[in-house]
């Protein structure tokens, strides 16, 4: 093969791939310089950088802090509930193999495929009947339902590594069912439950589509506040909150990269791959 053809067939696709990776990564970074602007409108810094917009975030009256607290509370509550329900289901389905648990699995995972907008329409109707629109419990329940699929996938993945002979051994030694579930199966699932809880937390923390429909003035989660302020104005405080979220994500991913995942494996076991649409 001639060098020129080699360049076209091998070099060009590689170059295109790196350019596309830059297209994915670089535009997100733009919020950082904009958040440091010295003007009070969205712009790049002109006569120097300023942290004024970060300071504005910390003012309680601006509402960003209270929205963060709201999101944090709802995300913690729905993460705990979703993980508990998902773990109970996953363990039950692991022991009781049959038609019913696998049918239920399809139903539990369906929020990954069914557009959240349809669920939103349904929940507005249901919550308005029960008077749960714009309530803590209403939002938390919806977030639990949307977080369960990821928790089921994460816990299911760690259950599939569990040796069924361990359960058989416990049973033949006469362990009672609660003992088997709590003392034999559960302790082997800590990594799956941890991953499920984190994924559930992130799902709730990021959820916007359904939340937008079922909340009003009282419950303003962080995504809802960001949504409203993008619609209302183009305030550089938005760039500051976006940068803060970006830095938190970068930090979490770097920790994962260097602490938990030393290999460069083609990660297959990432349940969020099968899932991201829930937050759109």
């Amino acid at each position: 093969m001639s060098p020129a053809r080699r360049l076209v067939q091998i070099g060009l696709p590689k170059l295109a791939a790196w350019l596309l990776l830059a297209f994915l990564f670089v535009p997100i970074l733009v919020v950082i310089p904009v958040s440091l602007t010295d003007r009070d409108y969205l712009s790049l810094p002109q006569d120097g950088v300023s942290l004024a917009h970060y300071a504005a975030l910390l003012d309680w009256r601006a509402g960003w802090l209270s929205s963060m607290a709201t999101s944090l509370a709802i995300a913690l509550a729905s993460s705990v509930l979703a993980t508990a329900v998902a773990a109970a289901y996953a363990i039950g389905a692991f022991v009781y193999v049959g038609r019913w648990p696998s049918l239920l699995r399809v139903v539990l995972l369906s929020p990954l495929i069914v557009p959240p907008i349809i669920y939103a329409v349904g929940m507005v109707k249901l919550w308005s009947r029960f008077g749960l629109l714009d309530s803590w419990i209403g939002v938390t329940i919806v977030h639990v339902m949307l977080a369960i699929p990821l928790a089921v996938l994460a816990i299911g993945a760690s259950l599939s590594n569990l040796d069924p002979r361990m359960v058989q051994a416990a049973r033949s030694l006469g362990a009672r069912p609660p003992t088997i579930f709590l003392r034999v199966i559960l302790p082997n699932l800590d990594s799956g439950i941890g991953a499920g809880a984190i994924l559930a937390f992130i799902t709730s923390w990021d959820e916007i589509t359904v939340t937008l429909f079922i909340t009003g003035r009282r419950i303003v989660t962080l995504p809802r506040r960001i949504w409203t302020s993008i619609a209302d104005s183009v305030d550089p405080a938005l760039a500051a909150i976006a940068s803060a979220l970006l830095l938190a994500t970068l930090l979490a991913l770097l920790i994962r990269l260097f602490v938990f995942e030393r290999g460069g494996s083609l990660s297959r076991s990432n349940p969020k791959i099968a899932a991201k649409g829930t937050s759109s």
Partner: protein, 279 residues
């Protein structure tokens, strides 16, 4: 059934109660309301098909979704194909560059694109100062901006699906093709591409389904000028309260998604890729 199995079954009950009462029921209610509200019959569907405004919304949704899906899958394939052939260190860097946008909130990403593409945004400022343009370009609040934002949202997802699939392809087949004298282009078109079709189909399926029901990015980057179904529904529900039309449109979307999934599941390779017997 043994006592142990009864216990196991009992553990699945909370999930079942929640899923049926608070997920399946509200969605069935949407389906039911589309035939009942405001009066029983097919009236909502008749007005759905007779209404020019809704027709436009549906057409926009389909055009934007199909374009987004086509662009996303082709570009994601280019990236995924390069990633699976990279040496380990470079692959980690590349996957990191995919993971960051993958995990960032959709709102932050839409906001970044607003900042970049606005009339007096970063891109227009840079291009004007470089002397490349004299008038700012209209890059956002139109179909172009919506598609850029949607492709950017969908690509990491499609790349990760494709990388998982391409990584599973047996490299000995590629080596065999090469050692039998196939040119690189032949190896790609006749070996890599056919073997990666299940991955391509899954990436296509997920991208089109997510696009059809997408609210955030089209709403922010389209600013009402590129009205897609999800945003139209939000207007129907929150301001005009036309439940009949909204639920009928939701039902149509659900049917479309169901048909896409059912169609995909007809192929054995897709069933296998979705995890086989479990579903």
């Amino acid at each position: 059934m043994t006592r142990f199995q009864r216990w196991a079954l009992a553990l699945t009950v909370p999930a079942a109660v929640l899923a049926i009462g608070l997920y399946v029921f509200p969605i069935f209610q949407v389906l039911a309301l589309s035939f009942l509200e405001p009066k029983p019959g097919f009236g909502n569907y008749v007005s759905l098909f007779g209404n020019a405004a809704i027709g436009r919304v549906v057409r926009t949704t389909i055009i934007v979704s199909v374009l987004t899906t086509a662009i996303t899958v082709v570009l994601a394939y280019v990236v995924a194909f390069a990633i699976v052939q990279m040496p380990r260190g470079r692959r980690r860097v590349a996957l990191f560059l995919v993971m960051v946008p993958f995990w960032i909130s959709v709102l932050v990403r839409a906001f970044s694109w607003i900042t970049i593409l606005r009339r007096n945004g970063v891109l227009n400022t840079v291009l004007t100062e470089a002397g490349a343009i004299s008038e700012p370009l209209d890059l956002v609040y139109n179909q172009f901006g919506v598609i850029v934002g949607m492709v950017h949202y969908m690509m990491p997802f499609a790349i990760l699906l494709l990388v998982a699939n391409l990584g599973d392809i047996d490299r000995r087949i590629i080596q065999a093709a090469r050692s039998l004298g196939a040119q690189p282009a032949t190896v790609f078109w006749r070996v890599w591409l056919p073997l990666s079709l299940p991955g391509v189909s899954i990436a296509t399926l997920f991208t089109i389904i997510f696009s059809l029901g997408f609210l955030v990015t089209p709403a922010i980057l389209g600013a009402g000028r590129v009205l897609m179904i999800a945003e139209y529904l939000s207007v129907q529900i929150s301001s005009t309260l036309r439940w009949g039309v909204a639920t009928a449109l939701s039902t149509l979307m659900l049917v479309a998604v169901g048909l896409l999934v059912a169609g995909a599941m007809r192929h054995p390779a897709m069933r296998a890729a979705f995890g086989g017997g479990r579903a």
